[in-house]
Structure formats: structure tokens, C-alpha cells
Symmetry: C2
Subunit: 209 residues, 2 copies
């Protein structure tokens, strides 16, 4: 997963499959480093199309048969979008159930396959967000797809630096001074943060002695 | 629901429907006093067929639209069968999730429709049970379908008395002395229990004074 780019991401629409080729689907799963179920929330779960795919593709033997490790080293994530505001999804709220509670069956599958489970990524009422928030969410979403897990400051910095560098490279020929300024500022701030961290660590050491 | 008989129960196989007639399905739901989802557990949820039915039949407006009470007075139950032993379904167990946790999305639907939620009825590894346990489970299952909710001693007694009486009546013509003995013993025991209860209540009263 280290260094994965958006270009490495495969979108695979299971609802649009005319017929499910179990063998092909299983091979696709085995090729991935991170498997993400993405769906709009329908009655507190994925739509029937994904469940149908689960029931057919995820054979017992494939997921946790003897002597297999088909999915064992992979990461498992969920991207779920909802038309209701997030505040409705809690005990005593209008929906009286949390997103996390609803996602328990999918986590249980990942558990059974010995996958590493990432926290679910929830997109709620995307259309009501202003431009800046939509953009922020888009970046968070891209990080969810490709950033090294878990979501630590270091992993986040690494992701942004890589993405900046990659994108600025794509302005072939043209000289983007603004881009370079952004990248340099980012790297400078990262170094400042590292400096700060080692200073704090020295102070702590002094206190302990 | 009071006095419902097994003859009043309608089994409706949603997976076998060639095409789902939303209006017809909704009318069927509205006719029932107790709605029970019954299914074998597939990947910690109902099979895709039931989810497909949910996604189509349970329109937002039907379940909780303004000024409607389509399902509000009804009771909601779940009968779920599993090939794994019940002890696997708990935190730290082989399946690492409880039946109750898995059923949360269905309860959330019932909640949204303002239905009264019954505890789920789980049938685990039916084929491995001996004859007596299978018979016991069958009776418990019949009670789940038709007995007055909640499952108190009084409601259970009432159910058994009614079922006994009804069944013995069906031996048309023939005189079943054994049946009458069972019924009379049952009624005698029920009266003994009531006597005991009022004695205990008198003792408690004495203690309070």
C-alpha cells in the first residue's frame, strides 16, 4: 500500500455486472492491497446488489478455508454515503443507530478473512456542503483510498508530499512557480514540525532525569 | 394478536417472487399484526433476496411518511437460522459478533416504522439437535409466531391452554381421554400456581406491615 497512487485504484461496479463470475471476482480481490466497499446507505446497509455479490463471491472456502490466506494481508475499508445528516445516526437520534453499528456485518466478514479493518469513511449530505468542504472531503476521500494506514500525521505528510510532487510533475513543459512555492512551504513546515518534535522530546528527557 | 392461531399465519416467500409488486407487498404488510423476517444467516445478514425486497417494498413514504401509521401498531420479529453453533457468535468467539449486533439494521427499520420490537428467535444447527430438542424448538417457534408478546408466564399459559383446547377439538368424533387428562392436569397446575402466587403476595404484605 505504501506509495499507492490514485492511478493504482481500481473501481469495480458490482451492481452493474450482468452475471457474476465468481472466479474472476475472487482473483480481482486477491490482486488488491486494500479492498473498499463503497455504497449509498439503503435501509441501514448496502443495497441488495452488493449483498448479492457477497453471497455469491465470498464463498466460505475463499474467505476462511483451511490453508488459505487469500485476503489475510489486505486492508478493508468502507465508504458509505447517506442522504441524512450524520447527527441523526446515534442512539436517541432520528435513526437511533450509529453508522458503526450498521457496518458491523461487513467488519465481521473482514475479521473472518483476517483482514486489517480501517474505520469507515462516511459521506453525509454531500450536495449540501459548500465548495470548500466538498473539496476537503474529496481530498480526505483520496487519502482514504491510497494513504498508508493508520491515519497518523507522518503518513498524512508523506501522502501530501507525494501527491504534490506527482501532480506538479504533470504540468509538462510549463513552469508552475506557484506549485513550487506550495511544495516548498509544505516541506519547510514539515521540517519545522520535526524540529519542534525533537525539542519537545529533549524537554521531556530533561524532566525525567 | 391476542388469540392468533397458526392457521392465521401467512408465510410469504419473498425470494421466490418473479417480480416484486410493491403495492401488493405493502398491502400484505398492512394486513398483518405481527411481521416476522425469517431467513438463514448469510454473511452476518439476510440473503440478498430479502434485502432486495426491503429496498423495493419499504419506500420511505410507506415506512415513515408524514401522517401515516401503516406499520405503527404492529409487532416485528426476526427468525434467523445458522449453521454455526450459537457459542461462536460473541465477542472473542469464532465469529466475533453477536446475533443481536447483526440484527441491528432490521431493528432500526422497525424502529423507524414505530413497530414494537420482539427479541430475535435464533435457530442454530437444527439438524444436530436430538428429537426432543427439535420438538421443543418447534413449539417455541410456534409460540414466537402466535403467542401474545411479551413472553411472560401468563401469556405462555394462555397460549398452551388455547392450543391444547384447539387441537383436542380436532379429533372429531373420537374420544381422546389422554388429551383430556393432559389438558386437565395443565389447568390444575395453572390454578395451583395462581394459588401459590396469592399466598406469596399475602406473606409479602405481612412483612411490609
Amino acid at each position: 500500500m505504501q506509495g499507492a497512487k490514485l492511478l493504482d485504484v481500481t473501481w469495480h461496479h458490482v451492481e452493474e455486472l450482468q452475471e457474476i463470475d465468481v472466479d474472476k471476482e475472487q482473483k480481482l480481490l486477491m490482486k488488491a492491497d486494500r479492498i473498499i466497499f463503497q455504497f449509498p446507505l439503503y435501509w441501514y446497509a448496502a443495497p441488495a446488489g452488493l449483498k448479492n455479490w457477497e453471497d455469491k463471491v465470498l464463498t466460505r472456502n475463499f474467505v476462511y478455508g483451511d490453508d488459505n490466506d487469500n485476503l489475510g494481508d489486505k486492508e478493508f475499508g468502507i465508504v458509505v454515503s447517506t442522504g441524512m445528516p450524520l447527527k441523526d445516526f446515534r442512539r436517541g437520534g432520528r435513526e437511533n443507530i450509529t453508522i458503526d453499528q450498521m457496518m458491523a456485518p461487513y467488519r465481521a466478514i473482514a475479521d473472518r478473512a483476517k483482514m486489517k479493518i480501517m474505520p469507515a469513511f462516511t459521506i453525509s449530505q454531500f450536495q449540501y456542503l459548500d465548495d470548500q468542504k466538498q473539496m476537503q472531503l474529496l481530498i480526505d476521500y483520496q487519502r482514504y483510498l491510497t494513504q498508508k494506514y493508520p491515519d497518523t500525521l507522518t503518513n498524512r505528510q508523506e501522502w501530501f508530499e507525494r501527491e504534490f510532487t506527482d501532480r506538479f510533475k504533470n504540468f509538462d513543459g510549463t513552469n508552475c512557480t506557484e506549485c513550487e512555492t506550495i511544495l516548498n512551504t509544505f516541506i519547510q513546515q514539515k521540517e519545522d514540525l520535526e524540529q519542534l518534535k525533537s525539542t519537545i522530546s529533549l524537554i521531556k528527557q530533561g524532566e525525567d532525569e
